[in-house]
Assembly symmetry: C2
Homo-oligomer: 416 residues x 2
């Protein structure tokens, strides 16, 4: 079997952990498998590099940040290769550039457009070597080093699995799978055996930290089954895969929480045709990711436009949006950093009604005020004040009886 494994930063956080990971890899290799390993930067390396940059400048060039941060993964692949050598197996490490991970040129959050190095990797596998690839990084057409943004190493792993048509894609992490909700908030949260790509996509974009949306999108596109599991415990994790009929028996798969939300309101935007289009085009050009959007008529001829952004993009967003607001003749820009978004997700919702109502009921029972609402086929999200976040998650998790084993009917058929 050809297996792609990805180890996150905490799994390779120090030399001892690197040796442990090497041992796991070698054991798996000796069962007769071909292995491609994707590794993140060691524990605090990325933070240390960011600190160094911040001692030089408050506003580093994104190209140079990518140049800087990509060294983190390069260090860990080299050390992991050495650790595997000491166990008597052959291994060879590669940077993103060396296995031809081609991306666009959006530094700090580049997207993979092609992987050129499949033949090269196959050649090394054929020689019996374990192939180790630096996660999180690639190069653009001019050979500038790019990084893939949050969860980038997961995306690298899925891309490798897709291009090599791997039999398995295992994502090793510090949790042992995907849960109905964050177990630190709700003690009876349950580990899911399987979850559909679309559900995981919603969970990820809604704040579940396990996997990043981009890697799931890519897995869905190329039909890569992802196995999320623990680097520390040898137990079955959660399979992320194409949905099947059985999955619809479960109405709500999980409850997601994102506490890192901020709300921005552009007040008194003149209500002319095409003005919203103009505003959102400018926001997109400013490279700001916005999430929920709500438009209210504030008074005749004017409208208030609210939307949410990730808290750590707030500064950048306000800079861009301040300019836009002046441009379109709005009255001003307000923001609130203390927002949280709580969501329920499940492909089963498509064939059920009343999910939103049940969720609002759960929130009302705890006297939690809802600020914004957004729904899709398979999710309902509410933006609330972040001080109520945990209370809201608990109430909703209870309401849908997600801690109750009988409710979760799916079996872990594909699990090995």
């Amino acid at each position: 079997m050809l297996i792609v494994q990805k180890y996150g930063g905490s799994s390779v956080g120090n030399p001892e952990r690197i040796r442990n990971v090497a041992r796991k890899i070698v054991d798996r290799k000796r069962l007769g498998n071909d292995l491609v390993i994707v590794v993140s930067a060691m524990g605090d390396t990325t933070d240390d590099l960011i600190t160094m940059a911040s001692q030089i400048t408050d506003d580093p060039s994104e190209r140079e940040m990518d140049m800087l941060l990509s060294t983190g993964e390069q260090i860990s692949v080299a050390l992991l290769a050495m650790a595997i050598h000491t166990l008597g197996e052959e291994a060879i490490s590669f940077t993103g550039a060396q296995v031809g991970i081609m991306t666009d040129s959006i530094h700090t959050k580049a997207k993979i457009v092609k992987v050129r190095g499949a033949a090269k990797m196959r050649q090394e596998l054929k020689k019996g070597k374990i192939v180790i690839v630096a996660g999180f990084q690639g190069i653009d057409k001019d050979e500038n080093i790019t990084t893939l943004g949050r969860g980038g190493s997961d995306t690298t792993a899925v891309a490798m699995a897709a291009v090599l048509k791997a039999d398995e894609c295992e994502i090793y992490t510090d949790v042992d799978g995907v849960y109905t909700t964050d177990p630190r908030i709700v003690t009876d949260a349950r580990k899911l055996g399987v979850i559909a790509y679309d559900e995981m996509l919603e969970m990820a974009s809604l704040g579940a930290k396990v996997m990043h949306s981009r890697s799931i999108e890519m897995a869905k596109k190329f039909g890569v089954v992802i196995h999320v599991r623990s680097s520390f415990k040898n137990v079955q994790g959660t399979l992320i895969q194409e949905e099947d009929a059985k999955m619809e028996d479960v109405i709500v798969r999980g409850v997601a929480l994102n506490k890192d939300e901020a709300k921005i309101t552009i007040a008194r935007v003149p209500d002319r045709p095409g003005i919203a289009a103009k505003i959102f085009k400018m926001i997109a050009e400013g490279n700001v990711n916005i999430d929920m959007i709500i438009q209210n008529v504030s008074e005749k001829g004017y409208t208030d436009l609210s939307f949410t952004v990730l808290k750590d993009e707030l500064k950048k967003a306000l800079k861009v949006i301040g300019t836009i607001a002046r441009d379109v003749g709005a009255a001003g820009v307000k923001h609130d950093e203390n927002m949280a978004k709580v969501s329920v997700v499940g492909v089963g919702m498509r064939s059920h009604t009343g999910i939103a109502a049940a969720m609002f009921e759960a929130l009302a029972s705890k006297k939690i005020n809802i600020d914004m609402i957004s729904t899709s086929e398979i999710k309902v999200s509410c933006v609330i004040n972040s001080r109520d976040a945990e209370k809201a998650v608990k109430a909703i998790h209870d309401k849908f009886k997600l801690g109750d084993k009988k409710v979760l009917k799916e079996k872990v058929g594909a699990a090995k």
Copy 2:
């Protein structure tokens, strides 16, 4: 003018020093120059990376060491680019791979065979950008990352100056030039205004730490005039250039000392034709650099073969040579780690006699025993016990009156 500058590890040892270097670079740029900057890894970075590797294995793969160590320079080029940006100038950093520094595949001491990125660098210079290149690294034809060994960043700088036909190549270091001998040993050691390539080559290969031989060889080959100067003091340093008639007035340019020598003797090698050739071929294949060689007849039909190696290559050398000794039926291998080599160097020696005799006299006057002797057109070297090293250097420096200004007649004509 197009100027190549190289800053060593101590010059960019911390964020504050990086900012200082950036300031110097920007000042120089604003005088109307085009600048290509070559940078080493920050201060202790390389040592820290080596320590990490040593926590994983005693015997790291050289390919993976190169992968690991090359991150050091990548970090410093990114940070230096950021620091230049804060001063309002444009700068762009490149890895060795990105400017096409092609090397052979001898990991940890690769040789540059070609630089492909001249056009790319010129293009960036034309845009008004300061080009920053990671020293010490390149890639081989299969895109493996290689490193150039000791003094590798100097070699990178000279290669850049050669391929770009730069007007100047400045090597910034923590000393302010090349001295007649190590000023820490001899207090009246004098800074040289100029030194010929061949003299500097001998000085370097004999232990003067300022510049590494490979960079001088390359400078000589391409006629690059090197200006070795201090990163901390703004004073004229030493020019390394083609020798001219005037230089021959000075008989001895300097005294070099290498305390990191070890001597290996292969005892009772059967004295058959071709056996020395066989031994040295095997040593070369084992990638061991040997220096002085002496052969003595020990008894009829047998010979003792002695040579020196750098102390930190002794372990590797003994491994290779042990095998060879068994192969050729020698009696055994002995070694002595406490050796030093003291040398006098000067192109003027070609037209003078009696230099060796004067040197032996100086050593004899201090009762220092000479173990091995080697001479060339422009140098005389003696291997002695390392406990006598400093005493020997002082005696020789005095003997040739190198501390006396009147003896050093050359003027710093070319200096700016």
